[in-house]
């Protein structure tokens, strides 16, 4: 199929149009224009699905891509040609990503029309939701880091607006500022990395960067004493750390649940946090060149484990999900770091689906019981059967139970991590990566099932009147009084959850029931994911021509490659021993199955059967540490901000007020005062007294003389005339 501007631009533009219309005319539209937002994202979804089906089922090669550019502005001078290009870059990864983002976003939009129906902020919410989606879609379509950065920042702004949508609540405002400022720390580094690449390569286009890597243009280039690849790669990864909530910069994400739950679903699943991982994957060759993969893997492992431990003791249902998001993002970063490019991206997709579903289910629960604290829930499976099914499936997926999507992706990441940590001949200290990864996987199973058991099993601890189905209209009217009523299958509230639930099954992504090489349900082509998505082979990008943005695409399409799971190799690894890798995967699979089931069993024993006391009581010291989230927030606020930044602030304030204000501003004022006085004197004495009044006096003097002459008697004039003429003639003669 041909790709023209008309078949690609609507993906990004239709939500933008919905945003503009809703922003300016939303109040005049029926239902504040939420149907318009849904429609616009659905249009994006249709166009994305077309591209996806074309890339995946149209039998294209792994390295097939479309790159179209147009000149954004022209900085040429003299004979130097320097065009700043914008454009789109579509490869298999982008095609999958587009489908995921638009599809999940559409379901979130539909769910939001139900969830936000009676909310005062309905219109505002449906203004920012399509903008957020369009920014993410634009980010995926971008062909260079600069336009990626633009969309990156639009998303930062949208998340700020969505988190702080209830501005009248002080905590929401604080959370939005915190999210914005924390990601800003990463964004500064990202911009720095982009500038470093721009300075040295003259371009920040993906294709140009890949080609530069292949041509060895990075060799010998240094920035501030470190090699360019390391500097730029580290800066770009720090940007990704901010957006994807990695270890030191993760503090914004748990607070981001102050926003409405569907907004959290969009931020935490489909769009914003995925952007950081997506960027790291896009710049993967740069990370490899800069020897940063071990750093990424370690950061990911720390994040995955740390967030999982914090999630153990959270009682707020959304906080559990928020920390599980951080933890899963850590797994994606492990995947990037250990060279498991394909599995990291697969985990991004599978996580987006089940995490969106989990957040929407949590929204459904919160909507039903008007409560976010899990100790006040319990026994909800009788009242919310559809939500229960959706949440259970997603929990099975995230816990890494076989046959579900999380197992397929996370297991492959852990298998590669196991190989990376123990068998690839790396630094022995890097064994921490698989150890923390497996530990985190067990904790994930535990805390997710803890959430399920506390929410849906046991007795209803809400002590609220339960309406058993009769008198439904009355129950609806009494909504605010905390009655729980049975949920019915509803197109807007349950169906999006159930659609997402369908895609928590593993075979959609792996083509096999287990994700391993046995148990295939369909043919080889159903393994599209791990065949089609692979790290960019940079040497193929040398000297490729650009296509104009408006032209019709003309690249040669090739047959679907017959690749095998066993041939999945690390990008950076020095020709990894395939047998060892396979062994690692098999060990990893059984280990993660065992760990996941033991986590589930532990949760079952603790929260359903009460065989073991919940460890909140057993280890109170650790619980306090975890409940305070390792004191990261305190550390940032009390030490970095209050001690460090406030001191810096005072120093800067002293420079500003003590030095700059007192001496320069006030000094300038004093100089001005002297100038004012002298100019006042000049004005009053020279101009006014001498100039203006002097003119008057002079005119008066003339007046005295002229008054005599100007008598008005014509005959006097004659006499004067004659006298003057006579005296003139007399003078001539003499």
């Amino acid at each position: 199929m041909e790709y023209t501007i008309g078949s690609i631009a609507p993906i990004f533009l239709s939500p933008v149009i919905a945003f503009v219309i809703n922003a300016f005319f939303g109040r005049k539209l029926p239902r504040s224009g939420d149907w318009l937002a849904c429609l616009s994202v659905f249009i994006s979804f249709i166009f994305s699905a077309r591209i996806f089906s074309d890339f995946v089922f149209g039998q294209y090669a792994t390295d097939f891509y479309i790159h179209k550019t147009f000149t954004w502005f022209d900085l040429s001078y003299g004979t130097t040609i320097w065009n700043v290009d914008m454009g789109i870059y579509l490869d298999n990864m982008a095609a999958v990503m587009l489908l995921m983002v638009s599809g999940v976003a559409f379901l979130i939009h539909v769910f939001s029309t139900w969830y936000m129906e009676h909310d005062a902020k309905h219109g505002k919410f449906f203004t920012f939701l399509p903008l957020f989606t369009s920014a993410m879609l634009g980010l995926v379509l971008s062909d260079n880091l600069f336009s990626l950065f633009i969309f990156w920042e639009i998303m930062g702004f949208c998340s700020y607006s969505l988190i702080g949508i209830y501005v009248e609540k002080e905590k929401a405002g604080d959370a939005s500022i915190k999210a914005f400022m924390t990601t800003r720390v990463g964004d500064v580094f990202l911009l720095l990395g982009i500038v470093a690449l721009w300075m040295t390569l003259g371009s920040v286009n993906y294709v140009d960067i890949y080609a530069a890597i292949a041509e060895g243009k990075f060799a010998g280039q240094t920035v501030l004493g470190v090699s360019l690849a390391t500097f730029a790669g580290l800066c770009i990864f720090l940007g990704g750390m901010g957006k994807s909530a990695q270890f030191p910069l993760h503090v914004w994400l748990p607070d981001a649940m102050m926003g409405p739950t569907p907004g959290s679903a969009l931020i935490h699943a489909a769009t914003m946090v995925a952007a950081g991982v997506y960027l790291s994957l896009r710049m993967y060759p740069l990370m490899v060149l800069g020897d940063l993969t071990w750093f990424i893997a370690v950061i990911g492992a720390i994040t995955a484990f740390m967030a999982a431990t914090i999630a153990l003791v959270q009682t707020d249902i959304k906080a559990v999900l928020a920390f599980s998001t951080i933890s899963q993002l850590g797994y994606m970063m492990i995947g990037v770091g250990v060279g498991s490019y394909n599995a990291a991206f697969m985990h991004l997709i599978t996580h987006a689906v089940f995490k969106a579903c989990l957040f929407l289910s949590a929204g459904s629960v919160i909507h039903a019981v008007h409560e976010q604290e899990m100790p006040k829930m319990g026994g909800l499976r009788k009242y919310l059967p559809y939500t229960f099914v959706a949440m259970l499936f997603c929990t099975l997926a995230i816990s890494g139970i076989p046959f579900f999507s999380g197992f397929v992706s996370k297991d492959r990441i852990l298998g590669d991590a196991l190989y990376y940590g123990f068998m690839a001949g790396q630094n022995p200290l890097l064994a921490i990566v698989p150890i923390l990864g497996f530990a985190g996987a067990g904790l994930t199973a535990f805390y997710m099932f803890r959430m399920i058991f506390m929410t849906f099993f046991g007795e209803n601890r809400a002590h609220k009147h339960v309406d058993h189905g009769h008198g439904h209209a009355a129950a609806h009217d009494d909504h605010g009084h905390g009655d729980i009523h049975h949920e019915h299958l509803d197109f807007r509230s349950n169906v999006p959850l159930l659609i997402l639930t369908l895609f928590t099954l593993g075979f959609w992504y792996a083509g096999t029931m287990t994700g391993q090489s046995w148990g295939k349900v369909f043919g080889a082509k159903t393994e599209w994911f791990k065949v089609l998505v692979e790290a960019p082979k940079v040497e193929k990008f040398i000297g490729l021509p650009r296509e104009p943005f408006t032209g019709v695409d003309s690249r040669v399409k090739t047959e679907f490659p017959k690749a095998h799971y066993e041939h999945q190799t690390g990008y950076a690894g020095p020709n990894p021993d395939e047998h060892k890798l396979h062994t690692a995967h098999v060990i990893g699979m059984w280990a993660s199955i065992f760990i996941a089931f033991s986590g589930v069993f532990l949760a079952f024993a603790m929260y359903v059967k009460h065989w073991i006391k919940p460890w909140a009581e057993t280890f109170s010291g650790i619980t306090t540490l975890l409940k305070n989230r390792y004191y990261f927030d305190n550390f940032y606020v009390d030490i970095i901000i209050k001690k460090g930044l406030l001191g810096l602030n005072r120093g800067l304030a002293y420079i500003d007020m003590g030095i700059y204000d007192r001496y320069i501003v006030d000094g300038w004022a004093a100089v001005n005062r002297v100038l004012y006085k002298s100019s006042k004197w000049f004005d009053n004495v020279i101009i006014d007294a001498i100039g203006v009044d002097g003119t008057g006096v002079a005119v008066n003097l003339f007046n005295l003389v002229l008054r005599i002459v100007q008598s008005g008697k014509i005959q006097f004039y004659f006499i004067v005339l004659i006298t003057v003429l006579a005296s003139y003639i007399w003078t001539l003669n003499v």
Partner: protein, 101 residues
Amino acid sequence: MISLASYLGISMVLFVTGLTVMIARKNIVAILLGIELILNAAALNFVAYSRFVTNNLDGHIFSLFIIVVAAAEAAVGLAIVIRFFQIKETIHVDEATQLRN
């Protein structure tokens, strides 16, 4: 033969008479008459010089122009005097003070 000096003498007498009339009399019509005398003195001078010095017709033509201009000027001047008289009921020149202040 009448000499140039005689013509100039007549012209001088005419000029001085006109000037004296212009300065001394308060009657506007008299002042206009004085002006006519001065113009005629000038015309006489032109003709005299033309006859005795350059010996061509330039002076004659010039004096013809002077006569024409004097006639026009007298017509305009008398019209102003008549209007003035209609307003002020006098032709005393010191009463013509409308433009003062």
